[in-house]
């Protein structure tokens, strides 16, 4: 028996053959030419694609299994996972879909993917007890104006002009919810995804609500965040908005 290759050389050639499908390194021709090599190549690709199916269920449901797996395979070839925590794999998949030519006819797809990603980020985010509504209620009005509300570690939100992304996403994320698609109104929509306790919650959020959360995340005091909300949506009812956000658990704490 003779050892023909260093460990490093073996791995370089093996990893190369896994990715490009060819066996260019003559020293490795024997192993990579064996039928068993395909088990590794197939398992690696299946592992990556299955992770994307698990992490992007609404997208997978919208486009169907065959389309999704083909798109996922193209994504994997561009950017394989960088670490073994596959629950976190595919952060760049929404942006990939924006440039993926076969997705051009589905302009809503990248943002539906973004909400799937927000769901994952909320699901694995650090645990935090959400700010209770009464904490704010107990605050004197002059103190409240200069108070900063800190978004919950799991909170993600986005305003989607011209497309009902939140409703599209919700109908495809929830297994039993297809009724919503019958009554879908094509309009602008925002969404907030947060996990205050064990369960990820998602609500529709107005343009003013999204601007309010943006301002809070940037460290603005409540008075400035309120102005930002009014700038984005002049008829917004601020007290209803704040009550809605507190109710869903969108904030972790208040700072003076």
């Amino acid at each position: 028996m003779s050892v023909t290759q260093s460990l490093r050389g073996f791995q370089e050639a093996f990893a190369h053959a896994l990715q490009d499908g060819g066996a260019h390194d003559t020293k490795l021709t024997a192993p990579t030419a064996q039928p068993g090599f395909l088990v590794y190549r197939n398992t690696v690709m299946k592992g990556c694609i299955d992770a994307l199916v698990a992490n992007y269920p609404a997208v997978a449901r919208l486009v169907g299994d065959v389309w999704f797996r083909a798109a996922a395979a193209a994504f994997v070839r561009q950017g394989p996972p960088q670490h073994p925590m596959l629950v976190d794999y595919g952060a760049a998949f929404p942006d990939f879909l924006r440039t993926f030519e076969p997705a051009a006819e589905l302009p809503y797809l990248p943002d539906v993917a973004l909400l799937d990603r927000y769901w994952t980020e909320a699901y694995i985010a650090a645990d935090q007890t959400p700010l209770a509504a009464r904490t704010i209620a107990e605050c004197a009005p002059h103190v409240l104006a200069s108070t900063m509300l800190v978004p919950h570690a799991s909170a993600r939100w986005r305003w989607f002009p011209d497309q009902p992304i939140q409703a599209l996403w919700r109908c495809n994320r929830e297994e039993a919810n297809t009724d919503g698609l019958q009554t879908l109104v094509w309009r602008s929509e925002g969404a907030l995804v947060v996990r205050p306790y064990a369960t990820v919650e998602a609500i529709e959020l107005s343009a003013g609500g999204c601007a309010f959360m943006d301002a809070c995340a940037a460290g603005a005091p409540l008075s400035d965040a309120g102005l930002a909300a009014l700038d984005a949506q002049h008829d917004i009812d601020l007290s209803t908005l704040i009550a809605q956000l507190l109710h869903v658990g969108a904030f972790a704490e208040m700072l003076q």
Partner: protein, 292 residues
């Protein structure tokens, strides 16, 4: 030379009685938390719990409060010609401290290379150079988590005789000697590899050094869609087959009872179906324990 095997045996016996356990998957969280079978323990893939927070960790806390746990890694890449990722070691260390598993295991394989993770257990040439590298990586892992780990024998799909200087058992034993690690013997991997490479599974099981074995895995496999039984795949998507049960009985009759896991990762049946399979291993272990 000190009798490493005996020391390891005593330590393992302290941590967990040699009963049978189940691989834990998220659809079975509630069933697992409620299960009351005597001696039942669970094993998880460490990487699935390397998250900042959320329901996975909360469920694992709940289940760990009622059952012993072992951590089984698939991403340390011990066989790569590079040191383990310090961030990954730190994440594993946090899990070990939080969940106090009775065993922490990994594979004689690699999966991470040049910043890319390939989700599989890829083969290594068993050279002297590789042995030193794997021993270094095992040592770094053990230093990081301040305890010994178990290393699992891989499934083989490639004939690489011209790449190997060591037999697999010889390589694993030397790894134990150099690092103090123990071994996790996956009986299904032996069956699959013997079939694919053409060696005698009985002879391999008989030659495996029992004093280093601190855990056993049993799983199902499937035939390659193109090549059929000529190429078996370690797919963990089926019940343990009769031949693997026979190999297992042959092993524990010789080396005595060891904590034994029923591994199922795909085509997940109802919890009770898996529990019945686990109870089969458990009955065998209990009968053996009485006889010894």
């Amino acid at each position: 030379m000190p009798d490493v095997g005996r020391v390891l045996d005593a330590r393992v016996a302290d941590r967990c009685a040699p009963t049978a356990g189940l691989g834990l998957r998220s659809p079975h969280y509630a069933d697992a938390a409620a299960a009351a079978a005597p001696g039942l323990w669970f094993e998880v893939h460490s990487e699935n719990y390397m998250v900042d927070g959320g329901p996975r960790l909360a469920w694992l806390e709940t289940i760990r409060a009622r059952h012993p746990l072992s951590l089984h890694g698939v991403g340390m890449s011990l066989g790569a010609d590079e040191a383990p990722d310090p961030d990954h070691l730190a994440r594993l260390n946090r899990l070990v401290w939080r969940f106090e598993p009775f065993a922490v295991s990994e594979h004689l394989a690699w999966s991470t290379w040049n910043g890319a993770y390939h989700p599989d257990l890829l083969p290594i040439p068993r050279s002297g150079e590789a042995l030193q590298r794997v021993a270094d990586n095992v040592q770094r892992t053990q230093d990081a988590i301040q305890r010994t780990i178990l290393v699992e024998n891989p499934s083989h799909y490639l004939k690489m005789a011209d790449q190997h200087q060591y037999g697999e058992i010889e390589f694993l034993v030397e790894l134990c000697r150099r690092t103090g690690c123990g071994l996790l013997l996956d009986v299904n991997n032996v069956y699959v590899s013997a079939n694919n490479l053409g060696f005698d599974a009985d002879a391999y099981i008989d030659a495996f050094p029992g004093q280093y074995v601190a855990e056993v895995h049993l799983a199902g496999h499937s035939a390659d869609p193109r090549l059929g039984d000529a190429l078996l795949i370690d797919s963990h998507d089926a019940p343990v087959c009769a031949a693997v049960w026979h190999l297992y009985a042959r092993l524990v009759a010789r080396i005595g009872p060891r904590p034994t896991l029923i591994e199922r990762d795909d085509e997940l049946p109802a919890f009770d179906v898996l529990l019945a399979e686990r109870n089969r291993a458990d009955s065998l272990l209990r009968a053996l324990a009485k006889c010894r």
